[in-house]
Amino acid sequence: MNEAILRAESVHKRYGDLEVLRGVTFEVGSGEVKVIIGPSGSGKSTLLRCMALLEEPDAGEVSLEGRRPGRAEVGMVFQRFNLFQNMTALANVMVGLTDVRKLSKREAREQAIELLERVGLKDKTRQYPEELSGGQQQRVAIARALVMKPKVMLFDEPTSALDVELVREVLDVMEGLARDGMTMVVVSHELRFAHHVASSILMMDDGVVIEEAPPERFFSAPEHERTRRFLALVE
């Protein structure tokens, strides 16, 4: 296994009486793709949010190359895209570069157009999110995160809000990223994607990781009864 880039060390998180994460330790190495599956409420999204620093863990630590992640060093893609509604596709991708990275408008525009081209949306730069399909919006969201040159990309159920026929175009972009060596953590129940792309698959249940294995072993011989039952339901 490659050297770990992103690490979560016994992360705990509770909301009121509900303990969502009960000590999760997890790491992803450079160029790896880890897919997290598990029933709803198992803490998958919360784990991603803690790693993107959108939530502060109650206990435990998140580190990127041994230190606390900096601004946008961990990119995040959301289930519901969350594109800025008042900005065009191009402006959505530019805003992080101009406002956070303090690039000039011209530089930001060039890089943003390059990224939009990479996700196949060069001709949609002037459209507002409302005018794009869900698949197109999600691809813009991926470009918006990628343009910041993150060391790791996190995907929180990136295709589960999409119509069936739009899932493929988003998965294609993600597979392309994986081939290019991007380090990725993906919460998803797209098992075919997991099978093809993942370095390993993690099963979460009730706030802990109960099992981690490479796809072959994970699907053919899951260790836990809980994993077996869950896979039977998803497939």
């Binding site: 959301f78 969350n82 805003v95 956070v100 459209q127 005018e131 918006r144």
Partner: protein, 247 residues
Amino acid sequence: MVASFDTHLFWEALTSDPYWKGALLALGLTLVSLAAAIVIGFALALGRGSRLRAVRWFVLFYSWLFRATPTLLQLIFVWYALPQVWPVFAGSWFTPFEAAFATLALNEAAYMSEIIRAGLLAVDPGQELAGRALGMSRRQILRRVIVPQAIRIVIPPTGNEFITLLKLTSLASVISLHELLTASQELAAVGFRYPESYLAALVYYLAIVSVLMVLQGRLERRYTWTSARRRRRVAAPAVPAISHDAR
């Protein structure tokens, strides 16, 4: 059948100096009061969500104070009572216009803060989350993402507030501000021609509100984010209505 209506007198009133100036004064007072109210109201709206309990309490107290008392009484208090307890306000700088401006701005801020708060809350929380994931600061997210989207939501109720304020300026006639109502009262008192005098004032109010409605429509389209803005009109999300009132 109208017994007697002097069209000539009506036109004369309509085009006379006191009416023009009165209307301009009413419009000007409305605009500056609303502008100040939006600024104060925005600060109050942010204060409502403050981490400091004292700040939250102050905002609630403010809102209670200005909404629970009649605007007319507030105006009279500021003009007649304030100078007696606070000598600064007895100076010649404190004219009826300043008194009316201060009262209306502070009063309206209480209403605007509720409207602005509702507008900010109506913006999808996912927008802020995405901003934070990009590493944007709280201030950047507010300025670039949340406020522009809240403006779209806030425009229609703010149009209502403009109309309410415009009408409230007529209250300032009791502190001898020479606005539109004062102008028509003075003309009516001279010739006892009530229909012509007051109708002329009504026409001015109607004209100002008509212009406002056109401008509001344009502003709403300006804050609609589709590239086919001109053709489409997207309904603004509902904002809790503030009951219509004679403040």
